[in-house]
Symmetry: C2
Subunit: 346 residues, 2 copies
């Protein structure tokens, strides 16, 4: 691992100045003869341009960071899957941060923008505190936030619409004739928990269905917790005929419990999940799920950032991605089993 050749080494060997070498390497107009000598020397030496030195001079790194709350979470992975190719196509490298859902880590990432090791940042914070807003206002590089940020914050912003998402699901269940539609939610002090709970209530009201406290069960966003919550719910309101779950994992837990209790899905109880993760198509019965467009949000975020890196000095933009209901067997019956999707391999 001896020291590699630099532009100086080439200059010596080719008998020209470093300026000429640089010009050739950057495709600036040069006499053929010089170009030939330089390229020959570079080739022979196995020269590769030092990205760090170039960055120092050019004040750009061709790197973009993506800070996700949790490397394990399928929703963020869906974003990552879309972000990666967009950046790659534009010639940027991707630096990945996992903030482990810790606000302090998110602030750290924003702070580290000052180190200028990336040209921009896409971040999906799980909650936006005042400290976040302060750092965002002072950010030393363009930032795109996936999630909601107050009006007036000087960053581009890509939002989901969980309210409409929940409504799609509830309307769907209503259309199928269900009238005792319960909600199995995660903690209400989380952003998604609160939003989805409120949206459920609204959707019922708009349909003219009574809101019944007994039909709401709070657990957590995990499979086992979801199962526990559904078990309680079934004991309390045996006549429930549909479950709106705040999450695919909760919904999987619901399927476990319903199966154990001998309730048929969807005949006796219909089940809807949220996030439309890979798990939804894999479960059995396959799970109807509300997609909040993680994938698309990732793609849009990457495109917004690229746009800004290309110099757009326009107003901060807000894009809201429309939710979509993926109807499968857990509400619509076996005819909706997806058997023919191509999914990633080996």
């Amino acid at each position: 691992m001896a020291d590699g050749p630099t532009i100086n080494t080439i200059a010596e060997r080719a008998g020209v100045s470093i300026a000429s070498v640089s010009r050739v390497l950057n495709g600036l107009p040069t006499r053929q003869e010089t170009e030939r000598k330089v390229l020959k020397a570079a080739e022979e030496l196995g020269y590769v341009r030092n990205a760090v030195a170039r960055s120092l001079k050019s004040r750009r790194t061709d790197q973009v960071a993506f800070a996700m709350a949790d490397v394990g979470n399928p929703a963020y992975l869906a974003m990552l899957r879309q972000i990666q190719p967009v950046l790659k196509a534009a010639g940027y490298r991707l630096v990945l941060h996992s903030t482990d859902a810790v606000a302090a880590d998110e602030i750290d990432v924003l702070h580290s923008l000052g180190e200028r090791y990336v040209d921009g940042l896409i971040m999906s914070p799980l909650r936006v505190t005042d400290a976040h807003l302060e750092m965002l206002a002072a950010a030393r590089a363009p930032v795109v936030i996936i999630g909601s940020v107050p009006e007036g914050t000087p960053v581009d912003n890509v939002r989901a619409d969980s309210r409409t998402g929940v409504r799609l699901a509830v309307d769907h269940l209503y259309a199928l004739g269900r009238r005792r539609i319960a909600m199995v939610n995660g903690p209400l002090d989380t952003v998604p928990g609160a939003a989805r709970g409120a949206a459920y209530r609204e959707a019922l009201e708009d349909l003219g269905l009574p809101y019944d406290d007994d039909l709401v069960q709070i657990g957590d966003f995990y499979r086992a917790e979801g199962a526990r919550a559904v078990a309680e719910l079934l004991a309390r309101v045996p006549d429930v005929d549909a479950l709106m779950c705040a999450n695919d994992l909760i919904a999987l837990g619901a399927l476990d419990v319903l199966r154990a209790a001998g309730r048929r899905v969807p005949d006796d109880v219909a089940v809807v999940g949220m996030d439309d993760t890979d798990l939804a198509a894999a479960s059995w019965p396959s799970l109807t799920s509300v997609s909040l467009g993680s994938a698309e949000r990732g793609k849009v975020a990457a495109e917004l950032l690229l746009d800004r890196l290309r110099g757009g000095d326009r107003e901060p933009r807000v894009v809201t991605v429309a939710p979509r209901l993926a109807v499968r067997a857990s509400t619509a019956g076996p005819a909706y089993e997806p058997a023919d999707r191509k999914e990633g391999g080996a």
Copy 2:
């Protein structure tokens, strides 16, 4: 986004030289008074050290790259999940490459090591060509390969053991009394396909079971392809009582077809997948699957790389990670349904 303060700005404001500023900022011994002035100025200016300039001088970037074949593939994601925290804890940033399973892209990544934008690389190539070996021999930074690499290649190497993995599964099926054990494989010209096919044959021989061409069906590593393959297989050998699938997705396809054909799992036909992805625990019945230790391979690879970055100049090391059989309901029956795993949320 005005130009940020540099060490020079601080020096001026504090009335000292840039050398003193640097010393204070790096915790080298300094007179209290100087230290105070510098820190005060830095604080007031909101100074953040420029990572690029520092890297140029120090010849290290505190970045490590991970090149995975496919951002969508759960096996690589499992590696990523382990690699990320290990690097983060050691103070390294993670640069993520997706090579889209294209050999030329992998070569590109190896080549780009010469740009010195990272201190090291973890790579999981889907196949190792001569071009790979050449680049590896000339690599300008430490590399760890996840996958197999010939003896004598000067890089650390973390291997799976799919042969033993397949044997674990086949032995398990045999112990359950199955004697017509079929294999549903992916293309034989892929590395995993070939290895798993050969291992299946070996395992049967060692158990004294006859190898029967009719019991082998080639499809592809996707769910729909798996389903198609299993349908053909069932038509040809209706008395099959166990399916060894080369992949979890194939196995999910198998479950689809068996259900449609009215065969009970595992009573009539037992099913085993490979890779032990999240999908295995989510499906119903839950899927017995051979884990080839993707997660652990990622972890070990990260640790090996860190070790080398810390200066170890030792021989290249080879670590083989032992496979593990995750027994679930698709072979062992409902008692093995996992109902209580905590999995990632929101």
